[in-house]
């Protein structure tokens, strides 16, 4: 972890999966020992999700967020829950019903 980097920046990079393993471990070890730092991280995550849902993230962070939060079921559910709260009382955007068949790309991938 860089000495001059702020906690806010480190937490953001941790949440977006940008930290190398050693720094990631350092962050985790720290929030296990420091309750205040942990609460800061939790709050930062909520804020990050909120920014994503409001479209306030830059393009790079937007992409990182999607890779990080929309590819893992548990984190995806966090985002969905936050989205539900954000949209409560408003019409939900129409979602494509069902998952499109991806067997064709899988077949193509296997053929590589």
């Amino acid at each position: 972890m860089q000495g001059t980097e702020t906690d806010e920046s480190v937490i953001r990079r941790y949440l977006l999966g940008e930290l190398p393993e050693q720094e990631q471990t350092a962050v985790e070890a720290r929030y296990f020992l420091d309750d205040a730092f942990f609460e800061q991280l939790v709050a930062a995550e909520k804020e990050l999700i909120g920014k994503y849902l409001r479209g306030e993230l830059g393009s790079e962070d937007h992409e990182r967020f999607q890779r990080r939060y929309l590819t893992v079921g548990y984190r995806r559910k966090m985002v969905e829950s936050a989205k539900e709260l954000l949209l409560s009382g408003a019409a939900r955007p129409a979602l494509t019903a069902g998952a499109p068949s991806r067997t064709s790309w899988w077949k193509r991938l296997l053929g590589r």
């Binding site: 942990f38 979602l95 499109p100 790309w105 899988w106 296997l110």
Partner: protein
């Protein structure tokens, strides 16, 4: 099967923590070696309380019936004593540690972070009950270390196989033989899907990625030989490898569909 008993910690705030009753998704297949019955425990991942005076409500002296070691009332009390001689503080620390463990497992890509957190706490409680010395200044650091071991074990045993004959025929893993329509629009969609798939694959743990890519590499008989070799490398039967690959593939398909909807 004996009735499973829950251990409950009730605080003066009238909130109750039900400990170590595994949370199971309805879509999750039960493991081959056990099922969990009984009601699901209350979700308990919120902010810590300000007043803790835990009283163990259940009087069970028998371990939760599990193939693995289970938390008993006695071991739970010893765990709380280890965390802090003050009962109220011990309860607060317990909740904080559990929250941190869940967050840790979430960010490490665990599919069941709460289960993993409970498993971590179980292991620590077992060590305390067994009288093992724990030489750390802060118990939370020890939980973190054990949590890392749990995570490592999770990835090592990523997909617990169940016998193939237990699966309905429709769920038997099989290679898809659908031909691709060379339509231009579908080709573009396919390219996009592959790009997203590469992203998904890069987020997988190395072992899982190696399994799924190795399983589908090669052509015809070469693929068969690959799979035998892969099974040997992972130390599992080919059937078990097939089931693991199938589950990983299904999860990837679901995640990919979600990604494509959101992009």
């Amino acid at each position: 099967m004996p009735t499973r008993k829950r251990i409950e910690i009730t605080f003066e705030t009238h909130r109750t923590i039900v400990v170590h009753e595994r949370r199971r998704s309805r879509t999750r297949k039960p493991r081959a070696y056990k099922d969990f019955d009984g009601p699901q425990p209350a979700q308990d991942n919120t902010e810590p309380h300000t007043n803790f005076a835990p009283q163990v409500v259940a009087s069970a002296d028998t371990a939760i019936t599990r193939r693995d070691w289970g938390l008993t009332e006695q071991s739970l009390n010893r765990l709380l004593e280890y965390l802090d001689p003050d009962r109220e503080q011990a309860g607060y620390k317990y909740e904080m540690i559990r929250r941190k463990l869940i967050k840790f497992f979430e960010h490490r890509g665990s599919v069941w972070p709460e289960d993993q957190a409970d498993e971590t706490i179980n292991r620590v409680a077992r060590k305390i009950q067994d009288g093992q010395d724990i030489w750390v200044n802060d118990p939370a650091a020890y939980f973190y270390g054990v949590g890392r071991n749990v995570l490592r074990d999770q990835w090592r045993n990523a997909e617990r196989p169940i016998p193939l004959e237990c699966l309905p025929l429709a769920e038997h893993p099989a290679t898809c033989h659908v031909e691709i329509d060379p339509d231009e629009a579908e080709r573009r969609e396919l390219e996009r899907s592959l790009e997203q798939l590469e992203i998904l694959l890069s987020t997988l743990p190395e072992e899982t990625r190696e399994l799924i890519t190795g399983y589908y590499s090669g052509e015809k008989t070469g693929r068969i030989d690959n799979r035998r070799a892969l099974a040997g490398r992972f130390g599992i039967p080919v059937n078990a490898l097939r089931i693991r690959a199938y589950r990983i593939r299904e999860r990837l398909k679901g995640d990919l569909a979600e990604m494509l909807q959101s992009v």
